[in-house]
């Protein structure tokens, strides 16, 4: 009897822990001021310090704060571990009278849609999420990126640099957004070398997958063991694990969103071939700048190769590694911009793309 009671309790406890973990972290910046423009930002899973997606958004916010110093007041919040209180945080900022509120990540899509309807005089910006039927007069702007285009280039770089003809991809949460990275990468690699093999793994099917470096490392280790010598990750904070695996196996990895060579540790740096840049910082900064000038417009902003919204990273650490392939990558970049190469955005399009390559 007692044992059964204990088991029941254990189960109840597990649930209780899940439900009760709802403290929220927050941090204030800058002092108050009456007529200052107030900009709020809520981070995605992985949060500040993921050295990737969220840190890019933070950088944009920071740059705006420095530049418009006395004219704006910024505040950022991090949701709970599972992100259950995203909507609550957005609403809190809106109620506190923030003029422009960012939701960093596609997970905010429905929450922004809801909160924006409740606060028609507040401006919102959604990164990576798509809300249909927006116009210039809407109070929501969607900031979208052509991640597949940037991924195509790093896929090509991997195909040029591989010695085993096998490369890997470690995705975070398996969703269409991350599949865009995969499809582009795959297409880029096959474009260079049709015989190349691409190993694909996803860390999980929940947003936790973006902050699980433990699994990130193990998946990358498995891919290296299977013969891959370059692994590209699109997994937020989990990517640190991929870099750790590259160090442990003495192989190469490709970073994502930010130029990750810059933030990597000394021992990781030589193992980062390049990073797929996604200039979330530029997007965030631009919207704040527009708001400051009173030129905020609703609708959509789509950042691609053509306007340097995505790309591949060259820095002092990887210069020597990437140099031999730069000419080819630039050529491909021009072809994508001109429309000669249309990069697939999902697996169905990828198959078509590969068929066309073969013919």
């Amino acid at each position: 009897m007692r044992k059964q009671r204990r088991i029941a309790l254990m189960v109840a406890v597990l649930f209780a822990v899940g439900v009760l973990l709802s403290a929220c972290g927050q941090a204030d910046q800058a002092g108050g001021g009456e007529d200052k423009l107030k900009v709020g930002l809520v981070f995605d899973v992985g949060g500040r310090g993921d050295l990737s997606f969220n840190d890019m958004a933070y950088e944009g916010l920071n740059r705006a704060a420095e530049e418009f110093g006395d004219r704006i007041e910024v505040k950022y919040l991090e949701p709970t571990g599972g992100g259950e209180n995203r909507e609550e945080l957005l609403r809190m900022l809106a109620e506190e009278g923030y003029d422009l509120i960012f939701g960093v990540g596609f997970l905010f899509t429905e929450h922004i849609q809801k909160v924006a309807a409740e606060f028609p005089d507040t401006h919102f910006a959604l990164i990576d999420g798509y809300i249909a039927d927006l116009t210039e007069d809407s109070n929501v702007v969607c900031l979208l990126f052509k991640e597949h285009e940037g991924s195509f280039l790093v896929g090509a770089a991997a195909a040029l640099a591989t010695e085993t003809n096998k490369i890997g991809f470690v995705g975070g949460m398996q969703i269409p957004l991350i599949e865009r990275f995969e499809a582009g990468y795959h297409a880029g690699a096959k474009y260079i070398n049709p015989d190349i093999e691409v190993l694909v793994d996803y860390i999980g099917t929940t947003s936790e997958a973006f902050k699980d470096p433990f699994k990130g490392k193990e998946l990358a280790m498995a891919q290296y063991d299977a013969g891959a010598d370059i692994v590209y990750h699109a997994s937020g904070a989990s990517g640190t694990g991929v870099f750790e695996a590259a160090v442990a196996k003495d192989k190469l990895a490709i970073g994502v969103d930010a130029d990750q060579s810059l933030t990597a540790s000394e021992e990781q740096r030589p193992h980062i071939l390049t990073s797929m840049l996604k200039r979330v910082d530029v997007a965030v900064y631009n919207i704040i700048a527009a708001e400051v000038k009173g030129e905020y417009k609703g609708g959509y902003h789509i950042f691609g190769l053509a306007d340097d919204g995505v790309g591949y990273a060259v820095n002092e650490y990887n210069e020597a590694m990437i140099e031999p392939y730069k000419a080819k990558l630039e050529e491909l970049k021009q072809k994508i911009i001109s429309g000669e190469i249309v990069v697939p955005v999902n697996n169905a399009e990828l198959e078509q793309f590969l068929q066309d390559l073969g013919s």
Binding site: I7, M10, A23, G47, R48, D50, K211, M221, A222, D225
Partner: protein
């Protein structure tokens, strides 16, 4: 294909579960249920990253161990001295662990969920073994904590079955009244059992942060503290059994990550540790025999 690399991965998965299970054995054998082990792993992982960031990996491990022990001291005080329900205290500690690490992370690193990158201990290549073809992946590039963990399994077994301390620890878990009559300090023994469990769980968390991942990430323990309790029950409250159970859990986790069999979907392997846990905790595999007085508080009669 189950190769050496796959086993090496399984062992890496096993370590945090096994360490925590060894800790749990100490607590339960002394009669105290410690469901707060998850929380002790959490504080262990965070403070280990903190220590490693400032003073190097070895200090990091020590910080993690001490943090786990400190939280366990609270559990011991609550359950032994103040006779709080063990489950209630454990749950409270899990929540406290989560909240305080987030708070500490924000105040120290200015980020809620991650720490900066930290150094690991230098990995070891075990001589001779790392040249043998099949075992090579298991014996090369091994974290010293892995070796320590397996040593601790046998040390725990020796302490529990061969030493006076072990005998007394088991005695207060089986029949505290009898032990007390014979002059064993029940309270001291139970404090010791719980604090040791915290030290182990702290080391498990430290291993995750410092040795495996090279940073602290919120939620990196992923319920391993609870899986460890299952491993302890599976292993029938003994260190060797717990090692077997932990290896099984580690192996199924590794299988889930490395799709070894084409026609079995990986989701199946992913589910395996949890299904195993249910089967085990449900007592289907064997009749498990917990210490007779586990979960009860002891009060001295006059």
């Amino acid at each position: 294909m189950i190769g050496g690399e796959m086993l090496a991965s399984a062992i890496r998965m096993t370590i945090p579960i096994l360490l925590t299970a060894l800790g749990a054995i100490h607590a339960e054998r002394s009669g105290i249920v410690n469901i707060g082990l998850e929380g002790m792993m959490i504080v262990g992982s965070f403070w280990a990253a903190f220590g490693a960031y400032h003073y190097g990996p070895l200090a990091g491990l020590l910080f993690g161990i001490m943090a786990g022990g400190a939280l366990a001291l609270v559990h011991a005080a609550a359950t032994v001295t103040f006779r709080v329900d063990h489950i209630v205290s454990g749950v409270a500690l899990n929540i406290i662990a989560y909240g305080t690490t987030r708070f500490a992370s924000l105040s120290i690193f200015d980020r809620a969920t991650t720490s900066p990158h930290v150094q690991s201990l230098p990995a070891i290549d075990i001589p001779v073994l790392d040249r043998l073809p099949l075992i090579a992946p298991l014996a090369s590039n091994v974290s010293p904590v892995v070796i320590l963990t397996f040593a601790l399994v046998f040390l725990t077994r020796w302490v529990l079955s061969e030493t006076t301390f072990g005998l007394r620890l088991r005695a207060v878990g089986e029949n505290p009244q009898a032990a007390d009559t014979l002059g064993v300090n029940v309270f001291a023994m139970r404090y010791a059992g719980v604090i040791i469990s915290g030290l182990f769980a702290g080391l498990a968390g430290a291993y995750l942060a410092v040795e495996h991942t090279g940073m602290y990430v919120e939620g990196m323990t992923q319920g391993k503290g609870f899986i460890a309790l299952a491993a302890m029950i599976f292993g029938n409250w003994g260190p060797i059994g717990a090692m077997g159970a932990s290896l099984l859990f580690g192996l199924s986790e590794a299988l889930a990550l490395r799709q070894v069999v084409e026609f079995i979907p990986y989701e199946f392997f992913k589910m395996l540790p949890y299904v195993l846990t249910i089967i085990v905790v449900g007592g289907i595999v064997q009749r498990s025999r917990p210490p007779a007085a586990v979960g009860t508080s002891y009060e001295r009669g006059e």
